[in-house]
Structure formats: C-alpha cells, structure tokens
C-alpha cells in the first residue's frame, strides 16, 4: 500500500523548548494509525504539525512532511489552505467548543464546501453527508447548543469529510463523550475508512481503544516515539517499558477487588528534559547509559523501538 503521509526527522520547538524530537512515521492509504501516550507527550502537537497550525511560539525546526508526494513543510499559507479541509480533515476533542455558537450546523458545514456549487447543490451535499453520519436532516437548521455531544461530534466529522479528504486527523474525538456515544463514533470512523477511501491518524490516551480501532499504534513519550508497530502485536506483547506500563494500567486486566496499578511519577516537563532517555526516572529496567544518552531507533521484531534494553543504538 502506498504511503499517503510521511514524517521524516521532524523536530518542533523553539530556542528554549523541543516539543517533538526526531519524529519518523508514515500512514498508508486506508489505514488507521493511533498515537498513544499520556497528556503532554506531544500527540496533539504532532497532529498540529501535520496540518501546520502550531501555536505561534513553536516552529518546525527540521525535517520533512510529505503528504501525497507534496512536501507540505515548505508550502505557503495560501497553498496550505487548499490542502486543509480539502485533502486533510481534522476533528477535535471538545466538539461543543469547536463549533461556532452563532451559526447553524448547515451554515457551518456549507462554508467548508469547496468548489463552485449552486446553493441548492451545496445544501444537498450537506444533507447527504449528515445522513451518512446518521444524523437527521433537521440538524441542518439547528444550532450547536441544540445538539448533544455525540451529535456535535458527528457534525464535526461531517464538516471534516465534506470534501472527501484522504486523511483525517482525529484529536481525541471521543474523550469528551460518554462510553456508548464514543463507541458509536468509533464504529462510524471505522466504517468511513473503506467508504471514503480514507486514512485516519487517531490520537488517544486509551491504548485498548487504539487497539480496537487501529491497524498500527505509535506510542509517544515526552516528544519522542518510543514504540511503533502493528496494533495487535503491541497490545499483546508490549516491548518498551513505557508501553508495558500503559497496558498494565488498563482496568480490564484486573479482577474484581484488585488494585489497579498506575505509573509512578509524571511526564517530565519540556522545560527541563533529562539529557538521557526521558522515561528514565519511571523505568523499571533503567541502566547507567539511560541516564546519559537518548536511545536511537532500532528495528526489533517487526517494530521500531527506542530502548537500550533491545539494542545499543544512540540518538545522533
């Protein structure tokens, strides 16, 4: 399968902070890739790097983003605007605050429609996609506050997919929803992949959700990718100590009455990252080298890992 998105040696940050360090991964056509990690690991920043909507004080320092053969890192804002919404769609965590409260859903989705269509044609298009999202055509005339969270998220997805983009960036789309609604949204996304010829880059905290939805999982920690491989393999046989701990924390692994483990400590802040492996302080397998050097990427059992436990490559 062809790769539609490829990130090569991406560094993001400014003079003081490095938010993302040496990010390498790719997304293939019709593939769902999940990025997993705790809060503050740079997952959302990775998505915002791809669509080039980073906060003002952060810049892409190094590396290349290749989307459908175009190097989008060097594109001007005007050319980038053609890709946003038309080729890459994005949905967000809190649908209620990502919809403008002053306009109806129909109005907002119609605004996103590209190309010269007559009014009736646009409306037809919007109602068609609303139906596809399992929403009633009535939603067209409703304001965001009149919808429930799940309906709002469906409307957001409709807005992101109205131009049939080839890549959908999903930034924790189900975190703000309750479990049953979230399940509906997840299944909807899964079905959309084949129907719309779509690839999804899905960011979540929940590694079991990532296992359910995606083909591949990328585990991030403090701005670096620590493990990248097939979803099933990672979920069943995690190698990196951080991934192991993440899976150990899942409630479904415990019997009733047992105490659920947590990961001791917290993610180091970007302002004072340790010189060595960022996971060093919380790791059960720490060695002396971990404190001093950052592990490089190694291929191990069909996946990419960054850990000295599995090989002695150094980060250049």
């Amino acid at each position: 399968m062809e790769e539609i998105l490829k990130l090569e040696n991406i560094y993001v940050g400014n003079e003081e902070l490095k938010i993302l360090r040496n990010i390498n991964f790719s997304v293939k056509r019709n593939e769902i890739v999940s990025i997993v990690g705790e809060s503050g690991c740079g997952k959302s920043m990775t998505l915002r790097t791809i669509i080039k909507l980073l906060p003002k004080n952060l810049k892409i320092l190094n590396g290349d983003i290749i989307f459908e053969g175009i190097r989008i890192k060097d594109l001007k804002e005007k050319e980038m605007n053609k890709i946003r919404g038309e080729k890459i769609g994005m949905i967000f965590q809190e649908p209620s605050s990502y919809l403008n409260p002053l306009f109806t859903i129909g109005n907002q989705i119609e605004e996103a429609v590209r190309g010269n269509f007559k009014r009736e044609k646009r409306k037809e298009k919007v109602i068609k996609i609303l139906k596809e999202m399992e929403l009633s055509p009535n939603v067209y005339y409703q304001y965001p506050h009149q919808l429930s969270g799940g309906m709002q998220q469906r409307a957001m997805i409709a807005m992101a997919l109205i131009n049939n983009p080839s890549l959908l960036l999903a930034d924790e789309p189900t975190t703000a929803l309750d479990v049953t609604t979230a399940f509906g949204i997840i299944n909807l996304l899964k079905n959309l992949v084949s129907e719309h010829n779509l690839s999804i880059l899905f960011v979540t905290h929940d590694i079991s959700l990532a296992n359910y939805i995606s083909d591949r999982i990328i585990v991030m920690y403090a701005g670096i990718i620590v493990e990248n491989g097939k979803a099933k393999e990672i979920y069943e046989n995690p190698l990196h100590p951080y991934t192991r701990k993440l899976i150990e924390c899942l409630p479904e692994k415990y019997k009733k009455g047992e105490r659920i483990k947590t990961i001791e400590g917290e993610v180091p802040s970007f302002k004072n990252l340790p010189p060595g492996c960022p996971f060093f302080q919380r790791c059960d397998f720490k060695m002396k080298i971990c404190e001093e050097r950052i592990p490089g990427e190694i291929n191990f059992e069909n996946r990419i890992l960054r850990c000295f436990k599995y090989g002695n490559t150094l980060e250049s």
Partner: protein
C-alpha cells in the same frame, strides 16, 4: 427581534419605553413633510417669538366644541413681544387639512398635512425670532440630528471593525503600528479635534456638504476607541477553538475574521452602538450650537438652540425656544436606557 423586545419589556421596562420613544422620534423625522404644519423656512413676519398656541375645547362662554380650536394671536407690543389672544374668533383645527403645496420625500407634491387650521395659525411649540414654527423646525431638524447619529455610527463602526479586527487577529507588528495610530487619535481632546478638523475646511459650504463633513468628522473621531475595544475582543476570541477548527478547514483568513470572530463581538458592539449614538447627536449639536455646523435656514436641534446663547432676554420672554434642547435630552436619554437594557438582554449569561 420580537424575542428581544419581549425580554426587554420584562427585564427593563424603561428601556422598552425608550425603544418606542426612539421609534416614534424617527417616524416623526421620516414623515416630517407630512406632519409639520409649515415648511421649515416659512417666516411669519407678524408673529416673532409667538408663544405656543393653546388648543381649546371650550370657548369663553364655556360652550363645548367637539372639534378642538385655537384663537388667533395678535402682536401688541413688538418691543417686548407681547401678544394678545383674540377670543372672539374661533379657528377650528382640522386633520388632513389642505395647505401649501409641498414636496414629500422629495418625490411627489402634496397639499394635505396631518393637522392645521384654515384661518389663523397653529404654532404648538411657538415661533422663533423670525416667526418660524418651532414644531415644524424640530421635525425637520430631527432628520439631520437623528440621521447623523446613525450614519456616523455606521461609518465609525465599519472602520472600527475593519481596523480593530485586523489589528487583533494578526497581532505583532501590525497590531503595534495600528494601535499607536489609534492612540494618536485618542490623545487629542475630542472637542478640540472636532473644532480644528472643522476649521480646516472652508466656512461657506453648501448645507449638504456641511452635513457630510460633520458626519465624517464625527466618525473620524469615534472609530479609534472602538477599534481598540474590538481589537481586545478579537484577541481573546481568536484563541477560541472554533477559530482553530475553521483554520483546520482551510477557510481564508478574512472570512475567519468577518464570519467567525466579528459576529461574536456583536453582543457587546450592539450595546456600544446604541450607547455611542448620543455622542454623535451631541457632537452635531455642539458644532451647530457654535455656528460651525448646519447653517440657517436649515434647522438642526443644535443650531435652533444657538439663538439662545448669550441672549437672556429671549430666554426669559420666550422659554419655548429651548424645546429643541428637550428633544436632544429625550433622544440621548432614550438611547442610553435602550443601550443599558440591550446589554442586559443580549448577554447570554442573563438568560
């Protein structure tokens, strides 16, 4: 709209009343051609400073008439402007009375007015020193005084939204430069700025040119403070998530500013608009009062008052000359109450 009015009525009755007063004043101004009994420049040389005509239902013999009537007035002492009421002759007041042919809305001629007399004169607010009917002049003056507020506010709000929106959205250098320019405008005391701007233009312009000039001067003064407030609001709204979402949809910058950001400032700016209209009305009145605004014979509420400046004799013998001032007061206080009420009603936190 009906919903807003309903909430206004329930929440803040004074502002509800003010709304209807403003509507009434604007209707009077629009239909001045039809309502005013006399043209604004018609001089009745026999009636200088004639007091307001009283409208009677009973004659001197206490006989009741269903149709209201007035008595004729006669100037008995031209030096002191003393009038005598001639109670012998009854002049009934007619509605839709036939009078002088006059152009209505500048479109067609008509000779019917809302009310008037066939014999005698009816000056319900009295006359000025040239014998012109003050009531008619107030109606025609309302056209100028009330429209200056609306036009001035629309120009300065247009500038304020455009400049404030750009400044707030782009931030950085653009913001810095624009805000320094705004500060230069805000630095001058607005009254002196107004006077010096007016002085920069020749004094003998046609009345329409003067009108346009005043509107432009007032809005040039007014936009700066507004641009600053809009900039502040845009600064905070541009960080809202739906702005990020529309950026992610690839919507062009200017569309984001004018469709997603500016409308979200409306709950504030509608209030600000109603609260700043009085400033324009007062500004025009001040200029006209000083003789720099609308020139005679064209009436505006300001220049009708200007006759009274430094003329105590007129003030003591003909206090009805101050009625235009009452209209200024009424308009401004109504706008202020309306703005106040709208602030309560449009704020979603109060629903």
């Amino acid at each position: 709209m009906r919903n807003i009015l309903y909430r206004l009525k329930r929440r803040n009755f004074i502002s509800f009343v003010s709304f209807w007063i403003i509507v009434l004043l604007y209707l009077l101004a629009i239909f001045a051609d039809f309502i005013a009994p006399y043209p604004f420049n018609k001089q009745f040389r026999d009636y200088p400073l004639c007091p307001p005509t009283k409208i009677h239902f009973f004659d001197k013999d206490k006989k009741f008439y269903l149709r209201p009537f007035v008595y004729e007035y006669k100037l008995v002492n031209p030096a002191l402007n003393k009038y005598e009421v001639l109670t012998e002759k009854i002049c009934p007041v007619y509605f839709f009375v036939k009078g002088e042919r006059r152009k209505i809305f500048g479109l067609f001629y008509s000779d019917r007015y809302l009310f008037g007399t066939k014999e005698g004169k009816i000056f319900i607010f009295g006359t000025d020193i040239h014998g012109r009917d003050i009531f008619s002049r107030i109606l025609y003056g309302a056209r100028i005084s009330l429209s200056i507020g609306i036009i001035g506010v629309s120009i300065s709000f247009f500038l304020g939204f455009l400049i404030g929106g750009i400044s707030g959205y782009f931030g950085g250098k653009v913001d810095n430069i624009i805000m320094r320019i705004v500060e230069i405008f805000m630095m001058f005391p607005s009254f002196y700025l107004m006077l010096s701007l007016r002085a920069a233009f020749p004094i003998n312009l046609s009345s329409f040119q003067v009108y346009l000039l005043i509107v432009v001067i007032l809005s040039l003064i007014g936009w700066a403070g507004l641009a600053r407030i809009i900039r502040g609001m845009v600064l905070s709204i541009k960080e809202e998530e739906y702005v990020l979402a529309s950026k992610a949809l690839g919507i062009p910058t200017f569309k984001i500013i004018f469709k997603h950001i500016i409308p979200n400032t409306f709950s504030y700016s509608i209030t600000a608009i109603t609260l700043s209209i009085p400033g324009y009305i007062l500004g025009e009145s001040t200029l006209s009062l000083l003789g720099l605004g609308i020139q005679e014979p064209y009436p505006s509420w300001g220049n009708m008052l200007s006759v009274c400046i430094g003329n105590l004799r007129i003030l003591s013998t003909a206090p009805w000359m101050l009625i235009p001032g009452f209209f200024i007061f009424l308009t401004i206080i109504s706008f202020n109450f309306l703005g106040d009420g709208l602030r309560d009603v449009l704020d979603p936190k109060n629903w």
